[in-house]
């Protein structure tokens, strides 16, 4: 495995008194797509939130390259080049699309921000037509595109997506997954993708992590899960679903 850009060491975390993640030791390789799958409540989203400083670390450590970032506040982590896209409420509904992009560039200078707006609009040309419109009026797919565009505003090295295709039609889901793949292949971003739709996500993955009940139950190459029917059936019930 390539040098990890982000890793966790014996990470235990949760919310308040709720202990959700148990002894998570993972390494996320640089410029690769790591997909995290698992059933509802397995702690996938909590893992992303913990890395981003939005959940409480009970014990263990998180490193970005060589720097420890455990329990740093989100606004500091955001500045260090990690972007996190929450599953829901990932845009400011009552602000216009333009204001949303401005907000996403909060830590940038004015010049940098306007240059970045042009850059992300070239990736999501669709948004150009909606600049003055309230973001709350966008469709589900457009919202995810805006959220992704916002995540890109600060040129993060690492993008963490929390179930971006949830509640999207299969066609739009494919489009979005392809955009995420392009961010990796064309823009060389490190992607951490939490997905319910395992099959769709694994197709673009380099590595895969399977979680269950707050623990890591599998880590390895993503495609293997798709290609090896036994592994797929064992961990994901893929074959059962296909029959």
């Amino acid at each position: 495995m390539e040098a990890p850009v982000l890793r966790t060491e014996d990470l235990n975390a949760g919310y308040g008194k709720m202990h959700i993640l148990f002894d998570i030791t993972l390494a996320f390789p640089e410029k690769k797509v790591t997909v995290i799958v698992g059933p509802n409540g397995s702690g996938k989203s909590t893992l992303l939130k913990t890395i981003f400083g939005l959940a409480k670390v009970i014990s263990g450590k998180i490193y970005l390259k060589t720097q420890e970032i455990t329990s740093k506040p989100p606004h500091d982590i955001a500045k260090m080049g990690i972007a996190y896209l929450p599953q829901t409420q990932n845009i400011f509904e009552n602000l216009s699309v333009q204001e949303n992009l401005k907000m996403a560039a909060y830590t940038l200078s004015k010049e940098e921000a306007s240059a970045k707006v042009e850059e992300v609009l070239s990736i999501f040309p669709l948004l150009r037509a909606y600049m003055k419109q309230k973001a709350g009026k966008l469709s589900g797919g457009e919202r995810q595109m805006l959220a992704t565009a916002m995540a890109l505003m600060r040129s993060p090295e690492i993008l963490m997506f929390d179930e971006p295709t949830a509640a999207l039609s299969p066609k739009i889901s494919h489009q979005l997954i392809n955009i995420i793949r392009d961010l990796n292949t064309k823009k060389e971003k490190t992607i951490i993708l939490v997905e319910q739709n395992a099959k769709l996500a694994l197709e673009i993955s380099d590595y895969a992590v399977i979680m269950g009940s707050g623990r890591v139950t599998y880590k390895g190459e993503g495609r293997k899960l798709l290609e090896d029917p036994e592994l797929g059936a064992l961990y994901l019930g893929l074959r059962a679903r296909q029959q």
Partner: protein
């Protein structure tokens, strides 16, 4: 009372109620806890002005910026030393409301001690104070100074608010954080700092009314407490989670109180003017029964309001 006088009183009073309600609403939409000390910022503002007047003979209206900063600073201290530590320990609405009550009593008591001290050391009145400022002549018309001052103040605040919230980075971030603080954090906004700024502004705006009140009403350290119910009535009638609501509610409650008590004090009813505070009370109860989200909620799409989950 001639009609012109009555309307002058009604508008001056309403302009100031709008400013006070703006302060309360602004602190409420950020932290979702009503600040019971909001009224005391009026008294703080008024005593900043009065002290400057007694000691250095400064016109009360010239101390408005100073009143803004002193009240804002006290509001900020409340955020830093009451709200912030308590909410970090997981205390919720009820405990915080009680803590704000306590803070209110501390501020009011401090003012009472201050006025007592000043009164005895300077041998000047520091209670039931009023600085008459008379009228100004504009284009041949005599206009009451408090009316003009309150109007200019309100207009300045509304226009600045509109510009700040709509066009500045700080304003957009404030609106964003009010709607979705969690997402604000995700995009690198220091949410606590935004809250602190909001509370400074909220205290400052209400505090600015102090110097004007001082030239309009007899003032004492309890004035904030007596105004509190009216500020809440204005915010609730207008819609406590909307800035537009504060403007609508402030005028509605202010006008109703002044004009209402005038009508009720005439024969055949002949009610004593001292009962005027009943009017905002009744309006508030009626609003909660009929229109709990306030008048502004009926004008959806015009105001900006926090998302309801």
């Amino acid at each position: 009372m001639p009609l012109a006088n009555l309307l002058t009183n009604a508008f001056t009073y309403s302009n100031m109620l709008v400013l006070m309600a703006l302060g309360l609403t602004f602190s409420y939409i950020t932290l979702k806890v009503p600040n019971f000390a909001q009224g005391d910022f009026i008294a703080v503002g008024a005593y900043v002005a009065y002290t400057s007047y007694v000691l250095w003979d400064i016109h009360p209206y010239l101390t408005i910026p100073l009143s803004f900063h002193v009240s804002g600073a006290i509001s900020l201290l409340m955020f830093l030393f009451v709200f912030s530590p308590l909410s970090k320990r997981g205390f919720k609405l009820t405990e915080l409301m009680i803590a704000y009550f306590a803070a209110e009593m501390i501020i009011r008591s401090a003012l009472l001690i201050y006025t007592d001290y000043m009164q005895s050391s300077l041998s000047k009145y520091f209670s039931n104070i009023l600085i008459p400022v008379g009228q100004v002549e504009i284009g041949g018309y005599e206009i009451s100074s408090p009316l003009l001052a309150s109007f200019i103040l309100l207009l300045t605040i509304l226009v600045s608010f509109l510009i700040i919230l709509k066009y500045t980075k700080l304003g957009i971030a404030l609106r964003a954080v009010i709607q979705n603080p969690e997402l604000g954090r995700v995009y690198g906004v220091n949410v606590e700092k935004m809250y602190a700024i909001s509370w400074f502004l909220a205290g400052g705006i209400t505090g600015m009314t102090g110097p004007v009140i001082l030239t309009f009403f007899p003032t004492d350290p309890n004035i904030g407490w007596t105004f509190l119910i009216r500020i809440f009535a204005a915010s609730i009638v207008g819609g406590i989670d909307s800035m537009l609501g504060a403007v609508i509610g402030g005028y509605f409650v202010g006008m109703s109180e002044v004009l209402g008590i005038y009508v009720l004090s005439q024969p055949p009813i002949g009610l004593q003017p001292v009962y005027r505070v009943v009017i905002p009370f009744v309006l508030m109860i009626a609003a909660l029964l009929i229109m709990p989200r306030g008048i502004a909620s009926k004008l959806e799409g015009i105001s900006f309001r926090r998302e309801r989950k």
